[in-house]
Amino acid sequence: MSTTVTLGKALNMGLRKAMEDDPKVLLMGEDIGKLGGVFRITDGLQKDFGEDRVIDTPLAESGILGTAVGLAMRGFRPVVEIQFDGFVYPAYDQIVCQVAKLHARSRGRLPMSIVIRIPFGGGIGAVEHHSESPEAYFAHTAGLKVVACSNPVDAYWMIQQAIAHPDPIVFFEPKRRYWEKAELDTEAPPEPLFGSRLVREGSQVTVLAYGPMVKTALQAASAAEEEGISVEVLDLRTISPLDMGPVLESVRRTGRCVVVHEAPSNLGLGAELSARITEACFYDLEAPVLRVGGYDTPYPPSKLEEDYLPDLDRVLEAVDRSLAY
């Protein structure tokens, strides 16, 4: 059945479906029950599944993750919501030291099927700690998987696939795209969770993006086309592990690559992508892999965020620089 839904609603539908499919799925977080979450992603779920499965927790992120670990050991599949990106750090120890390692430490005996949902990124005019992109911290940690959805269709399927997956997954949701709409066919077969996807074909430059920057990259590609430049866009979808196959295939064709993310460039995903592309495609490259990211500053006050965040023009500028080599 096909309907037009927002990305936020698609997540809500996906969570509902996952809870219907598996009674071991629990939702935990701050304000997710009665309120339905500050972004209403869990709207109506507590009403339908009860307070034991949609748990309004105390205001303590480490407590949420630590108890999720215990629940996972007991065979549950906790899906925890971190209210905003900048609030995940109190839970960082539990995520890095416990969630990520317990499967290996126990030689596979302790299941750690935990999904950590984090609305991330800027562009909504928020106060500080509400606009960050901390994905590299988690992608650097062995034992975790990290994905980011960019559109309603992926949101619906990826959240269900993440919940059904045995490994712990940090699930980044592009908060400024929560209101973006698309046609969702819940009968259509989904794509695999850990696969990147070609979203626009082109021949001269490959642009890699994920989460909120996919739309920006597509806008840049359209603008470039008007100038006669053919830009290919890939939605990475999975940040760790990276699905390099389609990326390398594209870069070998175009010989040029620009990576776009909101997170600061220094040691961000762009650095890793650049290294891997260079290792694999050295003789195919016509230009160095270029990065367009946030600056290496604390996320600025919201009146400055349009200057901080990569946008269509900054992506185009990088495309031009790449072509100039």
């Binding site: 005996r109 034992g143 592990p241």
Partner: protein, 395 residues
């Protein structure tokens, strides 16, 4: 603490955590600054001299065989501990965290567990592991650097050791919340130390357990030191009293009295299993050894303190009681000593013979199924390793 503690006629400070903290005073652990002349807050059923005493709220009635079994537990875990310390000194273990002095706290708590209960240890609960049927060699492997603990935490109902201080208390609460949701009959027993009570995770565990009425018992072994830092660096009030602020009962038990620990822990676990929510038990004890074999306690505490605590030794007092009450004879103690020596000899032999792990095993179980990129790294690693063995064979 705003009040200046008054000296009582016994000549010790009623507040054992005051500026002149003296854990070897005549009886500081019985003190309660709120009612210094009232009934002691410390639950004790066996005095340091081995005399059986009654407590108005806690009682225990064990047969001679049961008492002997407890003695056996205490003696054997101490003997393994002594052997492990020696093995570390001889370079066979990377490090060892000794439980010396805390045997009664651990055996009393461990023997209070029922089959459906789940224990969440720190890295020092060798005595509890023993009670859960875990072979000492499974623990030795961790300290030798061969693995992260070789036991099955689900099957043994004894979680893997947790080294990050206090993190496991939240896991215990989460697991207990799981028991509430899947009809489990057990409770969780979460171990931690005095230092851990300063951690955010432990305080969050208290809050979550209270809010959700989780079937969990918090078992704090206050062994007086967090490596070098004495208890007054962690708290201004006796630790068991922290519980009241979180809305559940707290109780201090003589941690060197295996009978009292068993009685108190049994009661708390029963309460948890029957839906009455959490309890905090503070087992008041003393770390008679170093923090670990890497530590040198002579830099921060006096030898005389240790001497005083030796008079409260958890094993000696049970032995004195068994002898005094005629519930064990010389032949019993000789048999235990023989068994201890045999166990120690086996631990030594199997430690020395323990093979190093397969190098490629480090790639195992990072994920449920190895990812393509990690598989590539594993293949590269194996090729690289194989190169060395070829070189060696050519030499």
């Amino acid at each position: 603490m705003s009040e200046v503690p008054e000296l009582t006629d016994q000549g010790f400070e009623p507040n054992p955590f005051g500026p002149h903290h003296d854990p070897i005073g005549s009886d500081p652990i019985n003190a309660d600054e709120q009612n210094p002349t009232e009934q002691p807050v410390l639950v004790q059923l066996l005095t340091p001299e081995g005399e059986r005493v009654e407590h108005p709220d806690y009682s225990i009635d064990l047969s001679a065989e049961e008492l002997q079994a407890l003695y056996r537990d205490l003696a054997l875990v101490r003997r393994v501990d002594v052997e492990a310390t020696a093995l570390q000194r001889q370079g066979e273990l990377g490090i060892w965290a000794s439980l010396l002095g805390q045997e009664a706290a651990q055996i009393g708590a461990g023997r209070a567990l029922l089959p459906d209960d789940m224990a969440f240890p720190t890295y020092r609960e060798h005595g509890v592991a023993w009670c859960r049927g875990i072979d000492p060699m499974s623990i030795i492997g961790l300290f030798r650097g061969c693995d992260s603990g070789a036991w099955d935490p689900i099957e043994s109902k004894f979680n893997l050791y947790t080294i990050v201080i206090g993190a496991q208390t939240l896991h215990a609460v989460g697991y207990a919340m799981g028991m509430q949701r899947d009809g489990g009959q057990g409770a969780c027993l979460a171990f931690f130390g005095d230092g851990a009570t300063s951690q955010g995770d432990v305080n969050e565990a208290f809050i979550f357990s209270a809010v959700f009425d989780a079937p969990v018992v918090f078992f704090c072994q206050n062994n007086q030191y967090a490596i070098s830092e004495p208890i007054e660096k962690q708290t201004r009030i006796p630790l068991y009293r922290r519980a009241s602020g979180f809305g559940f009962p707290g109780i201090r038990v003589d941690g060197n009295d295996v009978l009292a620990v068993l009685a108190v822990t049994r009661r708390a676990l029963e309460a948890a299993r029957s839906g009455q929510g959490p309890t905090l038990i503070e087992a008041y004890t003393y770390r008679m050894g170093a923090h670990t074999t890497s530590d040198d306690p002579s830099r921060y505490r006096l030898a005389s303190e240790m001497e005083a605590w030796k008079l409260k030794d958890p094993i000696e007092r049970l032995k004195a009681y068994l002898v005094r009450s005629g519930q064990a004879d010389a032949a019993f103690f000789e048999a235990i000593e023989k068994e201890s020596d045999e166990l120690a000899a086996r631990v030594r032999r199997e430690t020395v013979e323990m093979p190093d792990p397969d190098p490629a095993s480090m790639f195992d179980n990072t994920y449920a199924e190895i990812t393509p990129y990690l598989q590539e790294q594993r293949d590269t690693f194996l090729t690289y390793q194989a190169g060395f063995s070829e070189e060696r064979s050519h030499a």
